[in-house]
C-alpha cells in the first residue's frame, strides 16, 4: 500500500508559490511549508482540497540542525493523506503559528509539543504543560535532554550486552534515585506554580442576574475517581449541577513511551505498544508494524494477514463489550453488565493466550508477519465463538439493555457532539460514526487485507449518548461478519516473510502507519536514520485526541452526564498519557 500513501496527488507548491517546497530527503514525503505561510496553506488545504481531518501533529528534533513540526491531514471521504512540515532553526525561542483556528483538533497535540519539545504556538488558546507539570525542568523529547537514569543513546546498552553485567540504575544518579535538579537548587526556597495556571485557565463564572446571588463551585473529578477509567482528571466549574467550564488534566500515567522508544531497537518497541491501549495490544501492534513495514518494504504472507485481522477484530469485540459494561457501571447499573462483558472477554483472552502466550500483553506482531501460528484446535475455538456464542451474546446484550427504560431515558437525546464539529476536533472512531460521519480507516484507506471483506461501516445519526452506545453493538456485529469470513478463508502457509530476526534493518526515512483501532484512528509516526533504533517514535493516540473537544461536549450538561460522556468516548489512560 506504500504507493497509495504518496501525496503527489496534490501539488502544494503551486498552491502557495514561494512558500512551499517539496520534501526531497530520501524516503521522506510531503511538503515543507514556510512558517509565515502556514495558516494560509492550512486553510487552503482544508477549504479548497477537502482535507478536513487533521490526523496528527507532532514534533521531531533533528539535533543539532533543526526542529520540525509534522502535520498529517486526511479527507473524511477517504483516500491518501497529505503530509506537510514546518522547519525552524534549533534556537530558543522557537515559535510557529498555531493551527487551532483551522483545525481545533490540534489543541491538545500542540500543547504536547510545547511540553515535550518547547516549541511555542502563537495564537494557541491555552498553551500550558500537559503531560508533565508546570515547573518541570526542560523539554524531555529534545535530543539533548537526558533523564536521570540515562546511560546511552542506543540499546542494547553496552554495559548489559553481550556480557550481561548489571548496574542498578540508581547508581547512575547522584541522588540515588530517578531525580535531577538544576545546579544550586534549594527546595525550601523554591516557589511553585502548583495548580494556579490550571485554575486560571477555567472560565470565570458570571452570575446570571436572577435576584439570587450564587457562587461557583470548582470540583475536581479524579485522578482517583471510579468513573474516570483510570487516572484521568477533570477540573470542573459548576453552577448548581450544570457544567460551566471544564479542563481535562492528564499526565498521571505519562510513562514516557516516546522517549524510551527512541532508545529501544525497533523490535524492542513492540511490547511497549502493547501497553498503550492495554485492552487492545493486538491492534496496537498492528499500527506499529504497519509503519515499520512501510519503511522496510516488506509484505506479510497471506496467513499472517488473516491472523492479524482475526486478532484485531476479536480485540475490537472485547473492547466494545467492556466499554458497554463499564458505561453501564458509570450510569449506575453497578457491575452486573460489566460481569457479563468480562465473561465473554475471558473467552477471547483465552484465544490470545493460546496464540501469543499472554492474555493481555500479546506482543504478537513481527515486522513482516506474526510471532507464532495458532496451536491445534484454536481455529475451531474461534469458529465456535464467532459463529455461535458471540452473536448470541450480542443479541443478549441488546435484549437486556437497549430498551431498558432507565438507560434510554438517561442516554437518549443527551448530545455528545455533532458530526461536523467532531471532524473539526479530529475525533475518530465510534463516536464520530455515531454522529453520522462514515469514516473508518478500514474503508477510507484500507490496510492489510480489509479490502477483501464484506462489511459495513457502522453508522448512527444522532450523535447522542444512546447512539454512541448502540454503535458499539453494531460494530461488534460487523466485526463478527469479518471474522466469519476470515475464519472461512484462512489459508495455510508461512506466517512471516523471510526469517524471523531480532535486529531488523530499517532504511532511513519516515513513515506513518495508521489503523482503525477500537477507540479510533491509531497512528504511528516513525523516523529512522538507518540505525538499529528509531530516531523518532510518535503515537497518535485516539484516546488522547478524542478528548480534545471534551469541554465543548460537556458545557451546559449536568455533572452526572459528564461521566457518561467520558464513558462513551472510551478513553484508556495508557494511551492517553503514553
Amino acid at each position: 500500500m506504500a504507493t497509495l500513501d504518496r501525496t503527489d496527488v496534490l501539488d502544494l507548491a503551486a498552491l502557495a508559490p514561494g512558500g512551499v517546497t517539496a520534501d526531497t530527503r530520501p524516503n521522506y514525503e510531503g511538503w515543507i511549508v514556510d512558517k509565515a505561510r502556514l495558516i494560509e496553506v492550512a486553510t487552503a488545504v482544508r477549504d479548497q482540497h477537502g482535507f478536513d481531518l487533521l490526523s496528527s501533529v507532532t514534533g521531531v528534533d533533528y539535533f543539532p540542525e533543526s526542529m520540525e513540526v509534522v502535520y498529517h491531514a486526511y479527507r473524511t471521504i477517504g483516500g491518501p493523506g497529505l503530509v506537510f512540515k514546518v522547519q525552524m532553526p534549533r534556537q530558543d525561542p522557537m515559535e510557529i503559528p498555531s493551527v487551532t483556528r483551522v483545525w481545533p483538533g490540534a489543541e491538545l497535540q500542540e500543547r504536547e509539543i510545547w511540553d515535550l519539545f518547547g516549541i511555542r504556538f502563537t495564537g494557541h488558546p491555552d498553551l500550558r504543560r500537559i503531560l508533565t507539570w508546570e515547573g518541570f525542568e526542560g523539554h524531555p523529547l529534545r535530543k539533548d535532554w537526558r533523564e536521570a537514569f540515562y546511560e546511552d543513546d542506543y540499546k542494547p546498552l553496552k554495559s548489559r550486552w553481550p556480557e550481561g553485567h548489571y548496574v542498578s540504575a540508581e547508581e547512575k544518579s547522584p541522588y540515588k534515585d530517578n531525580l535531577q535538579f538544576p545546579p544550586n537548587f534549594d527546595p525550601e526556597k523554591a516557589v511553585f506554580d502548583g495548580e494556579a495556571s490550571l485554575y486560571g485557565a477555567l472560565a470565570k463564572y458570571t452570575t446570571v442576574d436572577s435576584g439570587i446571588k450564587t457562587d461557583h463551585v470548582v470540583l475536581n473529578l479524579g485522578p482517583q475517581h471510579p468513573s474516570t477509567h483510570g487516572v484521568f482528571r477533570a477540573a470542573v466549574v459548576l453552577d448548581g449541577e450544570t457544567i460551566v467550564s471544564l479542563k481535562p488534566v492528564m499526565g498521571y500515567l505519562h510513562r514516557n513511551h516516546e522517549k524510551i522508544g527512541e532508545r529501544n531497537t525497533f523490535l524492542q518497541n513492540m511490547p511497549y505498544t502493547d501497553r498503550l491501549d492495554y485492552f487492545n495490544s493486538m491492534s496496537n501492534n498492528w499500527g506499529y508494524s504497519l509503519a515499520v513495514e512501510k519503511l522496510m518494504g516488506v509484505q506479510p504472507p497471506e496467513r499472517a494477514e488473516y491472523l492479524r485481522v482475526i486478532m484485531a477484530e476479536l480485540s475490537r469485540i472485547q473492547n466494545h463489550l467492556i466499554l458497554i459494561g463499564m458505561l453501564l457501571n458509570d450510569l449506575g447499573a453497578y457491575f452486573t453488565p460489566a460481569l457479563y462483558a468480562f465473561e465473554e472477554r475471558e473467552l477471547i483472552l483465552d484465544i490470545f493466550e493460546a496464540a501469543s502466550g499472554s492474555r493481555m500483553m500479546c506482543n504478537y506482531h513481527r515486522f513482516g508477519g506474526v510471532a507464532r501460528d495458532l496451536p491445534d484446535g484454536v481455529l475451531e475455538k474461534i469458529r465456535g465463538l464467532v459463529e455461535e456464542r458471540l452473536p448470541r451474546k450480542a443479541d443478549e446484550f441488546e435484549r437486556l439493555l437497549s430498551e431498558n427504560e432507565i438507560l434510554v431515558s438517561r442516554m437518549q437525546g443527551v448530545k455528545v457532539i455533532e458530526g461536523d464539529n467532531a471532524i473539526r476536533y479530529s475525533m475518530t472512531g465510534p463516536v464520530l460514526r455515531a454522529a453520522g460521519v462514515p469514516y473508518d480507516v478500514r474503508r477510507a484507506q484500507p490496510y492489510g487485507i480489509y479490502d477483501r471483506f464484506e462489511f459495513d461501516v457502522a453508522l448512527r445519526q444522532h450523535g447522542d449518548l444512546y447512539d454512541s452506545y448502540l454503535i458499539r453493538l453494531d460494530e461488534i456485529r460487523q466485526s463478527l461478519r469479518i471474522l466469519q469470513q476470515a475464519v472461512k478463508q484462512m489459508p495455510e502457509g508461512p506466517i512471516i516473510a523471510g526469517k524471523p530476526q531480532y535486529q531488523v534493518r530499517v532504511p532511513a526515512g519516515e513513515a506513518y502507519g495508521r489503523i482503525e483501532a477500537p477507540k479510533g484512528e491509531l497512528g504511528y509516526y516513525v523516523v529512522s536514520t538507518g540505525r538499529q533504533n528509531p530516531w523518532r517514535y510518535h503515537v497518535r493516540a485516539p484516546s488522547f485526541i478524542n478528548i480534545t473537544p471534551l469541554e465543548k461536549m460537556c458545557v451546559g450538561q449536568k455533572i452526572a452526564d459528564f461521566v457518561a460522556i467520558l464513558g462513551v468516548i472510551d478513553i484508556v489512560l495508557g494511551e492517553l498519557d503514553r
Binding site: E137, E188, L253, A338
Partner: protein, 221 residues
C-alpha cells in the same frame, strides 16, 4: 478458615457440646475476621488494574476470599492494591490516599512497575517502585500478573494477617495510631520532603560537575 483451624487445640470440648461451643484465641478470631473481609480500594493506575478487575469477575471470583467489596473511598478500605505504573505526577496523590486510609491498612505492589519501575523504569516521569514512598506488604511479579498470580499474592497477604497479634499491632500501641507519610512535592522534579536537605546539598555539590549531566536548561515555562 474452617472450624477445625479456628478451634484452639488443648482444650477438650465434651462431645455433646462440640457443635455449640468453640474455644479459640482472641488473635485467631480477630485475624480470621480481618483476613476474610479485606476491602480493597477501587484504585487502578494502569494495565494491572484490568487484570485486577478480571480477578474480581466471574471466572476468578475474588469474592471467595472476601475481597470483592471495592471501595472508591480510601476511608473505607483496608488494602491498597497499587496496580500499575507509579508516575511522579501521580505519587503525591497516592501518598495522600494512603494517609487517608484508616488502620489497619495494607499495601500490595501489583506488577513489575509498582514493584520496581518495570519496563518503564528509565522514564523521566516514572517512580522506580512505590516502595520508595509506601511500606509494601506483598510484591506480586508479572507484567501484568495474571489473576491467578494476584490471588496467590493476596493469599500471601492473608497469611501475613494471620501471623499478627492483637497485642503487638501498631494501631493498638500508644501514640499516633497511624503513620503519616509526608506528601511529595512537584518542583523541577519530584521532591520528597524527607530529603529536602539532602537534595539541597547534592544540588550544590553537583553544580560543579554539571557539565556531563543535562546539556542546557532548555526553555523553561
Amino acid at each position: 478458615m474452617t472450624q477445625s483451624e479456628l478451634n484452639s487445640p488443648g482444650y477438650e470440648i465434651p462431645e455433646d457440646l462440640q457443635y455449640a461451643v468453640s474455644i479459640t484465641t482472641l488473635d485467631r478470631l480477630y485475624n480470621w475476621g480481618r483476613r476474610s473481609s479485606v476491602w480493597p480500594m477501587m484504585f487502578g493506575l494502569a494495565c494491572c488494574a484490568i487484570e485486577m478487575i478480571a480477578a474480581q469477575a466471574a471466572r476468578y471470583d475474588l469474592a471467595r476470599f472476601g475481597m470483592e467489596v471495592m471501595r472508591p473511598s480510601p476511608r473505607q478500605s483496608d488494602l491498597m492494591l497499587v496496580a500499575g505504573t507509579v508516575t511522579k505526577k501521580m505519587v503525591p496523590n497516592i501518598v495522600r490516599l494512603y494517609n487517608q486510609m484508616p488502620e489497619p491498612k495494607y499495601v500490595v505492589a501489583m506488577g513489575a512497575c509498582a514493584s520496581g519501575g518495570g519496563p518503564f523504569k528509565e522514564g523521566y516521569n516514572v517512580v522506580a517502585g512505590v516502595d520508595k514512598f509506601l511500606p509494601i506488604d506483598v510484591y506480586i511479579p508479572g507484567c501484568p500478573p495474571t489473576p491467578q498470580a494476584l490471588i496467590a499474592g493476596l493469599i500471601k497477604l492473608q497469611q501475613k494477617i494471620d501471623r499478627q497479634s492483637i497485642r503487638r499491632v501498631r494501631w493498638y500501641q500508644k501514640g499516633a495510631d497511624t503513620v503519616e507519610i509526608p506528601v511529595p512535592v512537584l518542583g523541577p522534579d519530584l521532591m520528597d520532603p524527607r530529603r529536602f536537605a539532602e537534595i539541597k546539598r547534592l544540588a550544590a555539590q553537583n553544580s560543579a560537575a554539571q557539565s556531563d549531566a543535562p546539556a542546557e536548561p532548555a526553555g523553561k515555562a
